[in-house]
Symmetry: C2
Subunit: 332 residues, 2 copies
């Protein structure tokens, strides 16, 4: 910048004004500065500016998702990127892999680089380690999972009622032997979905506990669980799979057993091409794009000065019937 000022024959402050498009610069002066900047291939260093800038906004935001390679996280990232982009804000993205150690490590890295806000999918038991950072002015929002030990805007799916909806759909279709296949029990979403399943089972007057299988964290685990489960005399006639990878694992197991048209299946969270498979996969679809969008909008509202208590937004889910959930129970 010093070189530009020298070449243009003006003061530093004038160059600064031109770069930041501040008013009160004569067109003629402006042109001189722009020419000099062009000739020297000048690039302003935004970090240097932020050092002294009063508001200390860096127009940068950190996003922690489960795994960008998973379509759920992909859609969420895209939404955050879109909202942030419209506000001239760049996004640091990082994947959590449901590893508690990574959570604090990633957050630390982002904080060290300065961000105006953090949008977080969490996995640790407790997020109180962020309270001091919040007090210092960093805006926080949580997405997909509720935080603990801290209050901040949060966006989640209708987990429990969505799971109840799925379970009720199967019960209404005549099923009594409905199994629950879920992700790690330590995850809040898994607990909520299990709760919804239990409530619906109870309402339908069916004992639930014998058919609950948890801690299936990937496709392979779900595949094996279903393979084993279906050999029982008392095998379920319907499955409720509470996460997209579990749904895919179960689907593959049913197909390999030749049971994809015999055993009903409803999944929580939509899966790609669910409508092309035969039978089509009935799901309770989440709206990850909306979740990301709302979280980003909350963050910008807070950065714009919105006061008031932390809000929790619940994003509706939708039952999409495509065939697999409407298979009737076998007479047995």
């Amino acid at each position: 910048m010093r070189d530009v000022a020298a070449l243009a024959g003006v003061g530093l402050k004038t160059v600064s004004r031109v770069i930041n498009e501040e008013p009160n610069v004569r067109p003629e002066t402006m042109r001189k500065v722009l020419d000099a900047a062009e000739r020297l291939d000048y690039r302003p260093d935004i970090n240097a500016g932020n050092l002294k800038r009063s508001a200390r906004r860096v127009h940068t935001l950190g996003l922690v998702v489960g795994n960008v390679a998973n379509p759920f996280s992909g859609a969420m990232s895209r939404a955050v990127e879109d909202v942030a982009g419209r506000r001239g804000t760049a996004v640091f993205t990082s994947s959590l892999d449901d590893d508690p150690q990574r959570e604090t490590q990633i957050v630390g890295e982002m904080l060290r680089r300065r961000v105006d806000a953090l949008i977080l999918t969490t996995v640790r038991r407790d997020q109180s380690y962020l309270v001091r950072e919040q007090e210092r002015g960093t805006v926080l929002a949580f997405v997909d999972r509720l935080p603990s030990g801290i209050l901040a805007d949060t966006v989640v799916s209708e987990n429990a009622s969505g799971a109840a909806l799925a379970t009720r759909h199967l019960a209404t279709g005549g099923h009594r032997r409905i199994a629950y296949l879920g992700d790690m029990h330590t995850l809040w979403t898994a607990q909520e979905r299990l709760r919804g399943y239990r409530e619906a089972m109870s309402t339908a007057g069916i004992a639930a506990d014998a058919r609950v299988l948890e801690d299936l964290s990937d496709e392979a685990a779900a595949y094996q669980a279903v393979q084993r489960m279906m050999t029982d005399d008392d095998a379920p006639t319907a499955l409720f799979t509470s996460q997209n990878l579990v749904t895919i694992g179960a689907l593959k197991a049913l197909r390999d057993l030749g049971l994809q048209r015999a055993v009903a299946l409803v999944g929580f969270d939509d899966i790609p091409l669910a409508d092309i498979i035969e039978p089509g996969i009935t799901v309770v679809a989440q709206d990850p794009y909306a979740m990301g969008r709302i979280a980003a909008e909350r963050v910008f509202a807070r950065l714009d000065g919105e006061a008031g208590d932390a809000r929790t937004e619940i994003v509706p889910v939708t039952l999409v019937t495509r065939g697999s959930g409407e298979i009737p129970p076998r007479a047995s």
Copy 2:
């Protein structure tokens, strides 16, 4: 930092030494500093440090992909994130949407925030606008598509030979009426895949041009194109779809026409659940994770001082036969 120094009763430089884990600090002094930092909840500002730091490495990298919500880009992002994470480097990610204006805008935003390197999927005709930035020391790498007007490490798929492989597979299966359905012709990858198709057709002694349909940029366009195409007397008996969204659109059209078991289909780039659909979808699978990984490794090699000419790495593709590509031509 000043406050920490005051509270600990030491000089600024000593605090700096402790924070940066430099040697030559007495354990006792170190403890005092650490205590003070803890009590004041001190967070070093890495950007302030970088201002004066000689190497001027900011341990931050920019990544521009097609669209993080697309599984291809998702896998690539994840790979870059993994390599960067191991090097203590954070990643700015942004989606291009094949919009030439966004390309320069995103790149500009990232450069203004300072990055050590940029990994880019491009869409503009020409990337010579980056030459001066490269001369200034920013490391550049291109992924998925070749740059023009600039030399830098580049990672691409075996586009032409992969497309030829797919086409040859169909021709070997007895097909003569093989249609090519491709993305925007302005994209380098689309041109390469078309070239591969043409070469394989020519080798098989089949005239190709009548069955080339380009500029299908999304699922809906591909769907309509296939719907229209299949009503011809002279309709193709096999389709080669040169991109994942085109494959999905074509798939849906064939299914809605009841032709999914009658018309052969080979796609370029794998699609999720391709093995569960019936028939399974035969594809020439790319390896987006490897592409992202190699691009990131190239970048770090250059940052570590590797000299030498720009390298172009070609990542192999694999023909995965699952059924749809092995459907024989109908007698007609």
